[in-house]
Amino acid sequence: MSAAAGGISGAIIHEIRGHDGEIEDVNPFQGLDTATVLQKCRAFHDPVMVNKHPRKCCEILTQLLYLMAQGFKLSSSDTAGVFFGVTKLFSSDNLNLRRLVYLFLKEVAETSNPADIIIVVQSLIKDFNETSHEILQANALRVLTRIVDASTLSGLERYYREAIVDSSPIVATAGLSSGLFLLRDPGTTDIVRRWVGEIQTGVTSADALVRFHALCLLHSLKARDNLGVSRLLTAQISKTDFSSALAVTVLVRYTSGLLRRDIGAIDPRVAYDFLDSCTRCASDIVKIEAARAICNLPSVAASDIRPAIAVLHRGLTAKSATRRFASVRTLAQVAQLYPTEVEVANTELEGMLGDSRIIATYAIVTLLKTGSASSVSKLLKHIHTFLADLSDEFKVVIARAVHDLALRFTSSYDAILPFVSSALREEGSFEFKRALVDVKVDLMERVPECAPSVLSHLCEFIEDCEFTPLCTRVLHLLGDVGPTSEHPEALIRFVYNRLLLEAAPVRAAAISTLAKFGAAVPALRSSVLTLLHRVRHDDDDEVRDRCALAITLLSDTDTDGESPATPADLNVDNEDGPAAPASAAARTLAVGSLPMPISSLQKALRLYQLHPTAGAFSFDDLPAVEGATGAGVTYADTARSVAEVAKAEAQAREEAKQAGAAASRRSHRAAGAGAAAAGAGGSAGAAGAAGSDADAGLGGLMAVPELAAAGKLFRTTAPARLTEEECEYTVTCRRHVFESHVVMDFEVTNTINVQQLERVTVQLEPQGDAADAWEVEAEVAAPVARFGEPVHTYVSLRRAGDPSAIKAATFLTTLRFFPVPVDASTGEVQGEASYDEEFEVDAATISPADFVVPRAVSGFRTAWEAAPEASTAQVQLSLPFATVAEAASRLIGKLGLAPCDNSGAVKSTAERAQVLLSGVALGGSQVLVRLQILQHPTRGLVMRAMARSDADDALAGLILGAIDV
């Protein structure tokens, strides 16, 4: 329909030229005045004007449409004059005028008052129903579609059904595209679904455009149903004729989409053969779409991708820029995975470097991925000539491609580094600069001989770098690598400059870097101290704190383990993770990294505060906290009930007395700590019951008085779900592992709004061997669980026998409570707890993995050799997983150990893998595990697992018990 408007305005342009001999390319609507046009619209009310001068009416209506396309909206006061004026044009039988009327109505249909627009419905139905002119029929239907809603559509349904099967392609297409439009509303979508029969006939229409629209509509109706789409595509693929390029293109696209969603949804051979036949189709659009689909197939073999590459290869020399662009873009994508297949196009790609910038960029990116070491410097030189002209998006693409290149051809660093250095001097976004810095850092890691030049260049870079995160990153790197470089003193000046010139976060990072230099290079220590003294009075708190800490630590060079360090000394650098020094172990810590992510560290420290251990603090004393969600532990000191605290304290003391005098020193401390913990925990429990504290779990744990003497918290596991999510009561369980106890921490949520649960407990019944190994020592009930508020209840299990032995166990788990009816709307209690109820949930388990924390060792092999051979335990299993990679990641998760020597990342296509794992068990002994996983041609996935431990012999075997597949 826009063609109709174009044709008409074209005629007007022609007229203007004819009359006035105007210069060319004048916009006939230039400076059109809205008020004038609205005034002119009054002519529509004059029947003579409408009937005798349709051409004049067309002109006015075109001007009105032009204004609306420029953003003019009819106000309600214009409506009477203009909108109703236009409706009077229905009395004209001039086809062009009527088409413009439809255009206008289509514009206003969705924005105008629904009560007004209804005035044209009769005329539209009549146009569809009684006129024999297909243009009027089609347009009437398209406008009608924009007016109807679900309630009116059902009355008009038959017109749509008729239209879709109409012999005129124009009408049928209008019916089908109306169907697509109606899918925007779920109410009308249900009605469109009833037309599937009619739409099916459209799919087989002789007209290309009808087939295209019918296919689109049918696919949209089935979009969420992979099976339905699969059936549709299979049927279509089998009888495809290639006369409708658009229809085949969407068919290719849908096939590709379906395969990506679910590779098994359609016979891959049929799908591939179809795509392959499409690459030989006469139509360019089909060919390129099919090539793209093949390239995007998940895990496609190199031989299968060749026909697609051939199509794209030929596309590179096409006359049409669009085709060249489409070809080179897909090639750039696929070159990452199949560089050798794409290599054949290198000559053509090089020829495209003079093409338009975007095409040239993709050509270069492709070449960078396929290129050989010898061509690297030539390519980089070429990029350099036009890098400055590229938009930032493409600069980033290039930078990433250079990154890949650098990793592949580390030996070409002497060509790559100068390029990166000069690119870093250019203007560019953060992403671009970061990608370039990545190239440098990665090259330096892999090629030690380029370290001096990289470091000096990075120093130069931060002299003029506007991006704070990049500055702090480079400073951190300098701190790590700089002290061991050849001339550390040369780097210090650049670091010190940051202290004078930059923003606070950069200054803080610079202080940490200087401190690392001072700590690692004794010769520089006094100079560093001098520099630090100069900035002691910085405006920023963080900078000043770090400075004071660094000065203290560096001045205090002769003391060691005895320095009065507390956890508060830990100074965490937010930008780059690793911390500034703490304690006299500062020198080692200054260059080391934290043993756990900062969020876990924060929680672990809070738990430690509630329950500190004797002696100097070290990271080893921290419990391992996993997967804790929410804002962290809040040991709220608000709304603290004095009475509760006192009670908890009394309980804790009594408990401590009972613990006896045998381990007097330790238990005294524990009692004191326990009292504090119980106080804090009690308040947290109170806060949790009040519903103000969603994550009371960890803090509430300490309210269990029996735990005061249980010793150090070793590990807290991630919550495990014991019920379906949609159960009436949902229960999750996390396990807190102590030296001699395991505390099962159940979070119970009542999802029934007409009751609350009182005296909620969980009963655990050990199964099998577990009955001998575990003894329920204490239960802590949750007083009340209101609707939707999670509460915690605990069961403390004491390990019988040897306290350090690790046992797996399963418990029959039952939720018990007293239900009390409440009014759902007010929450008011409507009765008393008179009977108790039981609700069985999935079994709670204790896994051997609960008794280890992941801790990677560097040099696994050395550690393995060092561990006593006698401790070796071994199992061989066949595994129920699909791939080696999946098996590796699942087993790492089950064992709860840390992968070492980068063995945790297994390629998705790998057929064998060795995974090296290590951790520390409860009691401090080291555990090492070697997994060898193999895809056996006949027996499927098989695995041999070996474990060693530096402790007693049993430990290794028990750890392997965690692999319960």
């Binding site: 003579v48 009077k88 005035i119 419905v121």
Partner: protein
């Protein structure tokens, strides 16, 4: 502008196009009248959502006839179609005794409209074929036609179903139009 322009035009080409509105409450038979006039056969119709516009040729006069929906949701829009109207055909369902009062107030409402001041009024007492239909004189009385002093009016007993009386009504309109234009 419209009227002046059109009369100039007519004197040049000697052919008059007459704009007629068919109005009335819903279910009065307006659309059936229109199509009976156009096709000369009874048509079954659905309630009109909006309007129908048709051109009729009668006695060398071209009529452009607008049949506007009578439902209460559409009645407010009638006024948008008043300007340049030569004659109004007001259709009454002669069997709908209960709503004759509503019809009366609708009629007097439109007679008060400025845009319809020069329009002639023909009232069609429709559905005369049905039992219990009021006679034209009774309708005239119920509508209070005798109180209309400012224009020519006529009442015509019609049956759109049988095609009775319709052309007689249009004859009256033709006579009035010819009378005014000389």
């Amino acid at each position: 502008m419209g009227m002046l322009f059109s009369s100039l035009f007519d004197t040049v080409f000697g052919k008059k196009e007459v704009r007629v509105l068919i109005l009335g409450l819903d279910n009065a038979g307006k659309t059936t009248i229109l199509f009976r006039l156009q096709l000369d056969e009874p048509v079954s119709t659905a309630p009109t959502i909006g309007f129908n516009v048709e051109t009729l040729q009668y006695k060398n006069i071209k009529f452009q006839v607008w049949d506007l929906g009578g439902q209460s949701s559409i009645r407010p829009f009638w006024r948008c179609y008043y300007p340049n109207t030569d004659a109004v055909v007001f259709v009454v369902d002669s069997t709908d005794v209960d709503r004759i009062g509503t019809a009366r107030s609708a009629l007097h409402g439109l007679l008060a409209e400025e845009d319809l001041k020069g329009a002639h009024l023909a009232v069609f007492a429709n559905k005369q074929d049905m039992a219990g239909a009021l006679k034209a004189s009774e309708i005239s009385e119920a509508l209070g036609l005798s109180t209309i002093k400012d224009r020519h009016w006529a009442i015509q007993a019609t049956s759109a179903k049988d095609g009775v009386g319709l052309w007689d009504g249009f004859d009256w309109i033709v006579a009035r139009i010819k009378g005014t234009t000389g």
